[in-house]
Symmetry: C2
């Protein structure tokens, strides 16, 4: 365990490095932070801290920068949990009120808010629809040969598609199919709609094989639609302002990675425990972001975790601020979503 002075010095290094992005030397610390000791003493302490692995040097005679271990200690032991100010909270709530009309807009604007406040990339993973239940499907008239298939979930999520009416079927036939499927599947979660149930339906409808094939096809289509979860990204251009990305090759490879949306979704999904968690540098499993840190938080509707929001940036990020914002989202995003009737 570090003694008080070492902790102060480490804190000074991390704080300064976060705000300036420059390696910190002993004299700078002595000047800026009133620790009551001379630079020489600080140098000795810094040598110890380096030996212990909390800070590192890019080359002889450069200042020190925090290591991943240093950031970890900073986040766990040095950072006092801060809350967002009343003013900031009011600002955010107002933003939601003004800019969101659709549910999708809530996600979009959440991504924007997060990236704006934290000056980093934000990720918002929307509720996995597979976790909600099938309510009913319905065919709406369109024209002689086409109809609109609408699938409704218990959360009020609606998906639709214009499809050809199979030859030989009347609109009434479609209504019958819909009724039958609704009777059997209504209330089941999409996760539980398995092939076995679909087979059962097939058996029950053996009277008309063609008709079933059609129905099955439509349902499959609906399932594909429903399972399609989405990831909202915000502030990708924020990267360009960060000095660690002044090298354009790095930016490029990073942005290319971001486009592989499913990868990111995977990283986020890993979080099962509720709350705000911080992953620093090489603690990240995915190699593309090993010199980055990610702070993520779940959000809940009616107490149930439905999605994840996260902020991704260089390890040199303002953990205090980022964590407080995500703490806020963790506690309030569900409420906002509920207002928009998801």
């Amino acid at each position: 365990m570090l003694d008080k002075r070492k902790r102060s010095i480490l804190q000074a290094i991390v704080d300064d490095y976060i705000s300036t992005a420059e390696p910190i030397g002993s004299r700078t610390i002595a000047r800026k932070h009133d620790l009551g000791v001379s630079p020489a003493t600080i140098r000795n302490e810094m040598a110890d801290l380096e030996l212990l692995g909390y800070i590192e040097q890019l080359h002889t005679s450069s200042g020190r920068i925090p290591s991943a271990k240093g950031y970890r200690f900073y986040v766990d032991s040095l950072l006092s949990p801060t809350q967002m100010s009343e003013r900031e909270i009011a600002l955010i709530k107002n933003w939601y009120q003004e800019k969101t009309r659709h549910v999708e807009e809530v996600f979009q604007e959440t991504a924007k808010i997060l990236s704006k406040i934290t000056s980093n990339i934000s990720l918002v993973l929307v509720p996995q629809v597979t976790q909600c239940a099938f309510k009913y499907l319905k065919f709406l008239p369109f024209d002689d040969c086409r109809t609109i298939l609408v699938v409704v979930t218990d959360t009020g999520f609606v998906e639709n598609k214009v499809i050809d009416i199979p030859t030989g079927l009347s609109f009434n036939d479609l209504q019958r199919i819909a009724e039958h499927i609704n009777r059997r599947l209504s209330g089941l979660s999409f996760e539980n709609i398995e092939l076995s149930i679909l087979r059962e339906i097939q058996n029950e409808m053996l009277i008309d094989v063609d008709l079933f094939e059609t129905a099955l096809g439509i349902l499959k289509q609906a399932l594909v639609v429903e399972k399609n979860e989405r990831l909202y990204l915000g502030g990708t251009t924020q990267l360009l302002s960060q000095p660690e990305f002044k090298n354009i090759e790095k930016v490029k490879s990073f942005l290319d990675m971001l486009e592989e949306e499913h990868l990111l979704a995977n990283i986020l999904q890993k979080q099962k425990n509720d709350g705000v968690i911080v992953t620093i540098g090489d603690e990240n499993k995915y190699s593309g972001i090993q010199d980055c840190s990610m702070v993520q938080a779940t959000y809940r509707i009616d107490g149930q975790v439905v999605g994840t929001v996260a902020v991704l940036g260089p390890t040199r990020m303002d953990y205090g601020k980022v964590m407080s914002v995500l703490e806020f989202m963790h506690n309030h995003l569900g409420e906002v979503l509920k207002k928009y009737k998801i």
Copy 2:
């Protein structure tokens, strides 16, 4: 009008500059292109071309680069219209077949295809719903206090929203409102649904003022939804590979501009005439892209122009390739969309 040799030299300069991004000198032209004359002669011709404004010099003793006027001449008079190869066309068609299931995916993938093939930013402006007609709206049951409002257009575009049932109204009342509105508005284009008509409806429904207020509110909501056109962007990271964007400030201001989606949508909307058009450098009205060129093309469904696709990049772009791809989209995107029943 330029004589044949000047044209050859200008063509050589533009071609070389497009592929190398380096200013072209007289000796390079003499070496690479067999014009049958010495560098000295080419130098004289180049001096003429510069005087005429087709090429310019960054500083004494640098090679020449094409000016906007030079590119314009190149596009109008030097570029032989090329078609995409059979192989490329097959590749694209296959891509659509494999990757698109939804209409939205068609737009998304179109943006991807364009940016991939041309190595530039692509823009896809989706059909402006205001140009299509209101078909009907319908209320679907959800629960005791909420209902799903579905608005259908004649093109098969469906929008929905979960709304609260106003207190005092039954589901049957809603059905009545829907029927009435449908009777009056069905077949009208969204552009033509003016306040005057809404007033008329109000008069006809004076029997129940509250009910009308509700209906009006819902319709307004629907209109807001419907008018919300979308812009799909592709290949924003391609920028980073272009040498003209090696300066990170430039990239940043450019990307920031791209985020102002409505601005871009405005630029695209200006095109009223059908076909592929090229806007070079300062021909662009919008100052943010005055050192860029944009090639845009309309696409049609059943002969009617419904949207625009475009490629945006540095003035030094491969106009031949970009134009051939957009020509293809101009002719075929409508077909693809039709397959997905929009």
